[in-house]
């Protein structure tokens, strides 16, 4: 009785959605993913719930993206996905199919630092450096959307990025400098 009803549910489902192949649905531990990272098409095989952070660091060896807290608080793991900054410790790779991802490694172009990186150097906006990749990414996402942000807008844009060294002032100065240089 119970088996019959399960089977009937499955067969009904089959009729409704020809796209679902039920044999494919059984415990697939790994999936093929295609996305673009820093302008380059990449393909990886990864468990669908693997964190984007780990896929970047382990599968693609892009270790610029850092893990601070692993719970969405610190922003060290920030990357830009389809134009928006997100915390890669909270994003499973299965949601990255065909995404356009930018990590800190993608900021410099042709051996030339991004104006933000240059400004961070000049302003002394990095000390230990663990927060820096995330800060740069959050700032890049801001400047891409808003070329001339106010100081308050800068503060808001990096409110999800913790820095335990600089006291933030030099980071805000650097972002302001990069914006006015652009």
């Amino acid at each position: 009785m119970c088996i019959v009803s399960v089977i009937s549910v499955i067969s009904v489902a089959k009729n409704v959605c020809p796209n679902l192949v039920w044999s494919d649905l059984e415990a697939k531990k790994s999936m093929k993913l295609n996305f673009r990272v820093n302008g380059v098409e990449r393909e990886i095989d990864a468990p669908p719930m693997k964190r984007l952070l780990d896929a970047l660091r382990e599968d693609l060896r892009l270790t610029g993206t850092k893990e601070g807290c692993g719970e969405g608080e610190c922003g060290a793991c920030s990357v830009i996905v389809d134009g928006e900054a997100l915390n890669s410790c909270l994003a499973p790779v299965c949601q990255m199919q065909n995404a356009n991802i930018i990590t800190v490694e993608g900021l410099a172009r042709d051996g030339k630092l991004d104006p933000l990186q240059q400004a961070f150097l000049e302003c002394g906006a990095a000390q230990c450096g663990i927060c820096t990749p995330g800060m740069l990414i959050a700032a890049r996402a801001l400047l891409d959307a808003n070329r001339r942000p106010s100081r308050d807008e800068i503060k808001e844009a990096i409110a999800g990025n913790l820095c335990r060294c600089t006291g933030y002032v030099k980071i805000i100065d650097a972002i302001e400098q990069a914006a006015s240089a652009a």
Partner: protein, 305 residues
């Protein structure tokens, strides 16, 4: 950040983060591309599969080993669940609408401004870009910041399953601490908020440890219609002061048809501090929450005079 009080402490005893995530590597996830596919998966796996939307609640729990599931149903690709639309009397907000989309939406700014205000206080930009209103609703935390607004607006939740679509009044949606009336195979499709009517205004007030990334110690939303300082109607709703988001029916009826002055405001605010039933936890004390509930209402009411 998680709404579980034990997490921060528990983390100290856990192995390194990549090991933590090991369990997740054992799970499988389905990414349906249509709602029908999602319904079928839910019918087949019912409580053996966990829905994931923006992941900003769920992944925190997984990273801390407080949650694991063999199967996940990743609904992120379901564009049917996105979008904010004008339905005449109401605004329909798709479940996958992010806070960033709510903040930017002219429809929300105009017809439910308190929801845009609430969204601006949620997490920080990285969270606002990914966290969804559907996730906030189903996660059912008493501290969910969009929830008091939906309660004050008398919103309606639209849920769907293979059995069809049903609508549930937001104020009947929660049955207890982190419990909802949803069945295990249902998905939240959208939430509908009635537009503000002429003369109506909405207010939002949140107190956390800092402006960004802070879980509410107390959060309040009010929708009211006043004429010349007299209240025609008022809905008051609070989060973080009870096991679920609540309305404050006693204080509401105390204020109905009242003419606002300092004394009336103080009486109502004091009454509210007794009507709520907050607890003392890691974020705040019962005493503090009662006091701040009082002050928050007084502050909002003074803006109406």
């Amino acid at each position: 950040m998680s709404f579980s009080p034990s997490l921060g402490f528990a983390k100290l005893f856990l192995p390194s983060p990549s090991l933590l995530n090991f369990m997740a590597l054992d799970s499988t996830a389905f990414s349906p591309t249509s709602l029908d596919e999602a319904y079928e998966l839910l019918t087949r796996f019912v409580s053996q599969a966990k829905i994931i939307a923006g992941g900003t609640d769920l992944m925190v729990l997984m990273n801390a080993r407080q949650l694991n599931a063999e199967r996940f149903i990743d609904i992120w690709a379901l564009n049917e669940l996105r979008g904010i639309s004008d339905e005449g009397e109401t605004i329909r907000i798709g479940a996958l609408t992010t806070y960033t989309q709510l903040i930017k939406s002219p429809l929300i700014q105009l017809h439910a401004p308190a929801l845009a205000e609430a969204s601006r206080t949620i997490g920080a930009i990285q969270i606002q870009n990914r966290g969804t209103i559907g996730g906030n609703i189903v996660n059912a935390s008493p501290a969910g910041d969009s929830l008091p607004v939906l309660a004050a607006f008398d919103a309606e939740v639209e849920v769907g399953s293979v059995r069809g679509v049903r609508r549930i009044g937001f104020n009947e949606f929660y049955t207890g601490y982190r419990k909802t009336v949803m069945a295990a195979d249902e998905i939240v499709l959208a939430v509908r908020a009635p537009k503000l009517k002429p003369g109506e205004r909405s207010f939002f007030y949140k107190v956390g440890t800092r402006r960004a990334q802070a879980i509410s110690k107390i959060v309040m939303a009010v929708k009211a219609k006043t004429t010349d300082g007299m209240i025609n109607s008022i809905n008051i709703s609070l989060g973080s002061v009870a096991p679920t988001v609540i309305r404050a029916p006693q204080t509401e009826s105390l204020l109905a048809n009242a003419t606002l002055n300092d004394e009336v405001i103080w009486q109502a605010a004091t009454h509210l501090s007794k009507e709520v039933s907050p607890i003392t936890d890691m974020r705040s004390t019962e005493h503090y929450r009662r006091k701040v509930a009082r002050n928050a209402l007084a502050k909002i009411l003074s803006q109406m005079v």
